[in-house]
Amino acid sequence: MSRAQQNRVAITGNEAVALAMKQVEPDVVAAYPITPQTDIVQYFSSFVADGEVQTEFVTVESEHSAMSACVGAAAAGARAMTATSANGLALMWEVLYIAAGLRLPIVMPVVNRALSAPINIHCDHSDSMGARDSGWIQLYSEDAQEAYDNILQAVRIGEHPDVLLPVMVCLDGFIISHSLENLKVLDKEQVTAFVGDYRPDARLLDAKRPITVGALELQDFYFEHKRQEAEAMVRSAPIIEAVADEYARLTGRKYSFFEAYRMDDAEVAVMVLNSAAGTARAVVDQLRRRGVRAGLLKLRVFRPFPGAALAEALAGLSVVGIMDRAEGLSAAGGPLFVEVRSALLGRPRHPLVLNHIYGLGGRDVGPDQIEQVFADLLRAAEAGEARQQVTHIGVRD
C-alpha cells in the first residue's frame, strides 16, 4: 500500500470522531446524546440529514436502547456504531456484555467523563475503566488525531475473523473533545478501502442460512463460550499490531500498544492514558534538561492488557508512577496501577511502583502536578522505598 495523500484540517476532537464515522459510513448508527459526546451525534445526524451518508440513523430513547439497537443491527450483519460518555455508558452496562458475548464488532467512541455522584460533566476515566472487564477492546487516544486514527483501526481490529469483539475508542471529554486541533485526515475513498466490508460468516438477515443468536446456555455451554471470548481477547493483540502496521504504511502514523518516550536510559517514569500524555511529555523534556533521567509511558491499548510487554518496558526503572484518572474505590489503588503492578510481579527485577490518582471530575492537571509526581518518584528512588503507595494529587487537604 502506498502512502496516502492527506488533508490538513483544524477540527475539534468530537468533529474528528464524527468525521471518522462519516468516512467509515457504517450501516447503522444508534445513539443518544450526552455531554461531552453530544457533538458527535449531532454532527453525524447532520451528515444523515444532508444525505452525505447512507447510514440508517436510529434515534433511541436511552443509551441502553442505543447499544441494544447496535447489537440487533450487528447480529443482523450490519456494521454498527454508537458513541457515549459517563452515565450513558453506565446505562449501557448489561448490553455491553451482551455485545461482547455475542462477539459483535461494534465500534464505540467513549468521550471520557466522570461518573455521578456528585454529578459532573468533565473528564476522568471512571466511565471506561468501570467497563474494563466487559469484553470490549479499549483503545485510548491522546489527542484528536489519535482518536481519528484509532476509530479507523478499531473497525478493522474488531471485525477481524480472529477477533470479533466490540471496540471502545476513548478520548478525554472537553480537553480533547472540544479543543480545536490541527490534524491530518484521509479521504473518504482511502478510508473505504482501508476498512473494507463487514462480512460476518453468520448473520440474522441471511434467509438462506437461518441462525439463532442469543440462545440460553446453562451449566453445559456458557463456560465454553466465555473461554472462546477470553481467547478472542488474547488473539486480538497480534491483530492490533498488524492493523497498526498497515495504517502506518498508509498514513505514516505508527501506533502500538504503548509509546515509550525517552525510556531507554530512564531511572524514573510516569505512565498515563489519554491527554495527560502531552503534558507529561513536556515535563519529561524539562526534567531531562535538568539532568533527571525521566521517561514517559503512554498506554494506548488497555484491553487486551499488554502486561508482558509493559513489564519489559518498565524493567530498567528504579521507580514508576502509575497515574490513574479514576479512583478504583477498591482501597487498593487505581485500576491502571493494580494491573501494571500485577504484570510486574514475578519478574526477577522490577521497579518500585507508586500510584498517583489525579484529575478526577475534570480537575486540571498541569505540569506542576506531574512534576510533583516525579519528585515523589525521585524521593522513593533515593530512599529505596515509598512513604506512601497511593497518593491523590491536586486535591485539597
Binding site: L102, T212, E224, H225
Partner: protein, 103 residues
C-alpha cells in the same frame, strides 16, 4: 447423555446456533419436578388442556386427547388447572413416579 459434549474450540462462536429448527432436540422436560398424570376414563376430550399447554406437550390425534409428551412437558400444571373433569389430570411429584417405575 453420557457422551462428551464438544469443547470450546469446536462450537460456533458467541453461542450462535447455525442449524435451523433444532430446538426440538432440546428436551425441555428434563428438569420437571411435577408431572401431570392423565386418566382416560375421566377425560371428556374437551381439549382444554391442549389449548392451554404453553409447551404443546398435550398429544392429540383425531380430535381426541392421547396423552402427554413428557420430553417437553415442564410440569407447570396449567393443564390440570384448566381441566373441567375431576381426576382427569392430576399433578404428582416426579419423585413419586420415578421411585415406582423409573422414567
Amino acid at each position: 447423555m453420557s457422551e462428551r459434549k464438544p469443547g470450546w474450540k469446536q462450537i460456533p462462536r458467541g453461542g450462535l446456533i447455525l442449524e435451523a429448527g433444532n430446538a426440538a432436540q432440546y428436551l425441555t422436560g428434563d428438569w420437571r419436578s411435577l408431572r401431570p398424570v392423565w386418566d382416560p376414563e375421566a377425560c371428556s376430550h374437551c381439549l382444554f388442556c391442549w389449548v392451554y399447554c404453553p409447551d404443546a406437550a398435550i398429544l392429540v390425534a383425531e380430535g381426541k386427547m392421547k396423552g402427554i409428551n413428557l420430553d417437553f412437558c415442564k410440569g407447570c400444571g396449567i393443564c390440570a388447572n384448566q381441566c373441567p373433569r375431576t381426576g382427569a389430570l392430576t399433578m404428582v411429584t416426579e419423585g413419586s413416579v420415578t421411585a415406582q417405575a423409573g422414567s
